[in-house]
């Protein structure tokens, strides 16, 4: 233990020097208006000591959670010496990540930022994050969060590789279904994917214009959630070596299954996720299930008002009878960013925001977040029956799912690309030009190429 600690201290020191040199180069480059010269952003640059500052501290924080300001106000009231200034930004891939990347490049990033789990590795790759493992209270906080979320922020290394963010919320997946439609056809909530397919056929046979669900091209992260359930991580990281594992037997099983549903026209392929057309189909009862995350309850509630009281929630169908596996779709972290002068205070705020009972309640009530903190799952609001879902206490299902999410899922450092390859490929597959199996094969080789282009050590 002691030996390892000393080694890491010296490494950190050399890294700090590298960081300072890099900073100088960056400033010079910026001055000559031709920057980008040496993006020397060594990992862990400022995370070395994590000493609290003396005196008043002001922190900038970027987030797109609705109602976040209320939580920040509570913090600011209780902590006059650490004042947080919130900036509300567009959601991740809709602009925030681009803005954050640019701000990091310009050395003007905020102290704290909202980053989704799937983008954490890519921001670490850019040298945008600070290792907060040594900050007060961070190491002990690990056990306060749902297991898989902590393995996301410590990159599955159990603390050997730093802690790079604090988990905020999650998207454990379950099956939303129109109970009335299922009841009428004498169908129970499918417990296996086989039963789900049988239900799809029965629904289609009863009503030609009714589909069991839609297969969206623009939600590659939804498909990733399905892969996650079947323990088919897309990447493996071994120290500095990466391996792309998009195309593997487990993912093929998922792809072939959905390809069969597409071929037999059992799922709607002309509806994009979160589109007005999809909402109309929900309202009209033309699409009767959605395999989605905990946060999806408000998506249906707000956009399919005509179907109030008719939906119910059941656990995700399983690949083998009796299994209990859940996928995850979405969820964010609060990360301390490279340029922060006050990582200790920033980490303190991030921990409070995502574990404090009052904060969790605000984020759940105002922002609809499904907490990553174990204590958050016990919020009174998450125990109550929900009117829209026929007074079912639906969050019990998600709490169970949350514990059944595989902890070994590794995100690649170039997920933007991988998602793009998946969604472009899906366009071809739903158009009839190829199959989802081909999509996996192509995404696999394209992602390998994309890692190579980022000069990463990648093996096929």
């Amino acid at each position: 233990m002691a030996v390892r600690k000393r080694v890491s201290v010296t490494r950190r020191r050399s890294v700090v020097r590298g960081g300072v040199a890099g900073g100088v180069v960056l400033v010079l480059a910026a001055l000559t208006a031709c920057s980008g010269g040496s993006d020397d952003k060594a990992d862990a640059a400022a995370g070395a000591a994590c000493e609290p500052a003396s005196g008043k501290v002001s922190l900038d924080y970027w987030s797109w959670v609705p109602g976040m300001q209320k939580a920040v106000d509570v913090w600011n009231g209780e902590n006059p010496d650490i004042q947080v200034k919130l900036k509300t930004t567009p959601s991740g891939n809709a602009g925030s990540y681009q803005n954050l990347s640019n701000a990091l490049k310009a050395g003007k990033a905020p102290d704290l930022g909202q980053i989704e789990y799937d983008s954490l590795a890519s921001f670490r790759l850019k040298g945008g994050l600070i290792d907060i493992a040594k900050c007060d209270g961070v190491e002990e906080a690990g056990s306060k969060f749902v297991d898989w979320t902590w393995s996301q922020v410590d990159f599955g290394a159990g603390g050997e590789d730093g802690v790079w963010a604090v988990p905020q919320d999650t998207g454990p997946m379950a099956l939303f279904y129109r109970k009335d439609v299922f009841d009428k056809l004498g169908l129970a909530a499918p417990t296996t994917w086989e039963e789900y397919e049988a239900a799809a056929r029965k629904i289609k046979a009863a009503n030609k214009s009714q589909y069991i669900t839609h297969f969206s091209q623009t939600d590659p992260n939804w498909f990733t959630g399905l892969l996650w359930q079947n323990k088919a991580p897309m990447f493996e990281r071994n120290g500095d070596k990466w391996k792309v594992t998009v195309d593997r037997p487990e993912s093929r099983e998922v792809a072939d299954y959905w390809q069969k549903l597409i071929d037999d026209k059992l799922v709607a392929t002309d509806l994009q996720g979160f589109s007005p057309a999809l909402y109309k189909s929900w309202n009209d009862g033309e699409v009767v299930t959605w395999i989605s995350a905990a946060w999806g309850y408000s998506t249906i509630r707000d956009n399919a008002k005509a179907t109030a009281g008719k939906w119910a929630v059941a656990p995700m169908p399983q690949w083998e009878k009796g299994q209990k596996q859940a996928g995850n779709w979405g969820g964010s972290t609060t990360a301390v960013l490279k340029d922060s002068q006050h990582p200790a205070e920033a980490a303190k705020f991030a921990l409070w925001l995502n574990t404090d009972a009052k904060a969790l309640e605000i984020l759940n009530q105002e922002g609809g977040l499904y907490p990553a903190a174990k204590s958050g799952l016990e919020l009174p609001a998450l125990k109550e029956p929900v009117d829209f879902y026929g007074k079912q206490p639906i969050f019990d299902v998600f709490a169970q799912a949350s514990g059944n999410v595989d902890t070994d899922f590794t995100w690649g450092p170039t997920m933007t690309d991988t998602y793009r390859f998946l969604s472009d490929g899906t366009a071809k597959a739903t158009g009839g030009g190829s199959t989802l199996g081909d999509v996996l094969k192509d995404t696999d080789s394209q992602s390998t190429e994309s890692l190579r282009k980022q000069s990463l050590d990648v093996t096929d």
Binding site: C34, A42, Q272, A277, G431, G433
Partner: protein, 303 residues
């Protein structure tokens, strides 16, 4: 300001040489800052690539890579696909749009036209609507689930999928035509106003009808305006971005590399800044070369 004032007293001759630049400054400074520098930066960036030292999360360095990014981009299958797509788009959409614009301009210019001001404004209004808004509006008109137009066609037993892989390019073409016809019409109409009235009178005296005057007198005289709109349209076509980007949200047929500009955007979003820069430079060069050829071609025809 300072630079011009000092030489006044010292050397009047230098004052004369500097004065034009003072007048040009309002154009030159933004031009340099917002056009030359970004283009230069993109070119510089396109010649470099990222290398990593010390493992995955080690430090990244930008090193000179020559034209490697260009080779990489050109080897991508989407490169040729997207270029062919916009070329096909331009071959069909530009002639249709310009013919329409010319027809409208000549109609407005004809002696029998009534309510000229009103119609001029009506035709021009689509151009005043922001591109994204226009694309969104058309998206709703195309969407099979929501569109009253598609409903109407269906009730007439016409089954069309305006967002399907075969039709989507022309659905986009329709939006572009709708937006820019009025704009091009206005340029042509303005040129028509400058056609000397005696030309028309002389023709009429010689017994030419309205048709003949329009085609034999007016069109040849406003040829420079036609060439100008042609070049603008060509550039616009190769830079097609807004409409396909908006349609991505509702159609399953538009990929992230549907047009070259969309591809460059997607590459940059995936942190491949150098490759995106190389693609942008290639696109700029291709657009420039095509515009130049087009100008040469039309100039020779004129001579």
């Amino acid at each position: 300001m300072k630079t011009t004032r000092t030489p006044v007293a010292a050397a009047p001759r230098r004052h004369r040489t500097l004065a034009p630049f003072a007048f040009l400054a309002p154009f030159l400074i933004p031009f340099v800052l917002f056009t030359l520098v970004p283009v230069g930066y993109a070119f510089w960036q396109s010649l470099h690539k990222t290398e990593r030292r010390g493992g995955t999360f080690g430090r990244a360095e930008t090193v000179f890579a020559g034209f490697q990014q260009y080779a990489d981009v050109m080897a991508e299958p989407f490169f040729v696909d997207s270029l062919i797509r916009v070329a096909l788009f331009g071959l069909v959409q530009i002639p249709v749009m310009l013919a329409l614009a010319l027809t409208l301009a000549l109609l407005l210019d004809s002696a029998v036209a009534r309510l000229k001001r009103f119609f001029r404004l009506v035709y021009f209004v689509p151009y005043g609507i922001p591109g994204v808004v226009a694309a969104l509006m058309w998206a709703f008109l195309y969407d099979p689930q929501l569109s009253p137009v598609v409903d109407l066609l269906r009730s007439a037993q016409v089954d069309v999928d305006l967002l399907g892989p075969d039709a989507i390019l022309w659905s986009i073409g329709n939006v572009v035509t709708w937006t820019y016809t009025g704009y091009n019409m206005l340029i042509m109409y303005a040129a028509l106003q400058a056609v000397p009235a005696d030309l028309g009178e002389a023709a009429r005296v010689d017994g030419a009808g309205a048709w003949t005057i329009a085609l034999r007198i007016k069109v040849p005289v406003i040829r420079p305006a036609l060439v100008l709109t042609g070049v603008f349209s060509l550039i616009g076509t190769f830079q097609l971005f807004t409409e396909p980007q908006v349609f991505r949200a509702i159609s399953t047929s538009v990929t992230s590399t549907y047009t070259p500009n969309l591809a460059a955007y997607s590459l940059a979003a995936g942190d491949h800044y150098s490759e995106a820069a190389a693609l942008s430079v290639l696109l700029a060069v291709a657009t420039f070369a095509l515009s130049f050829l087009f100008l040469r071609f039309t100039a020779r025809r004129q001579g």
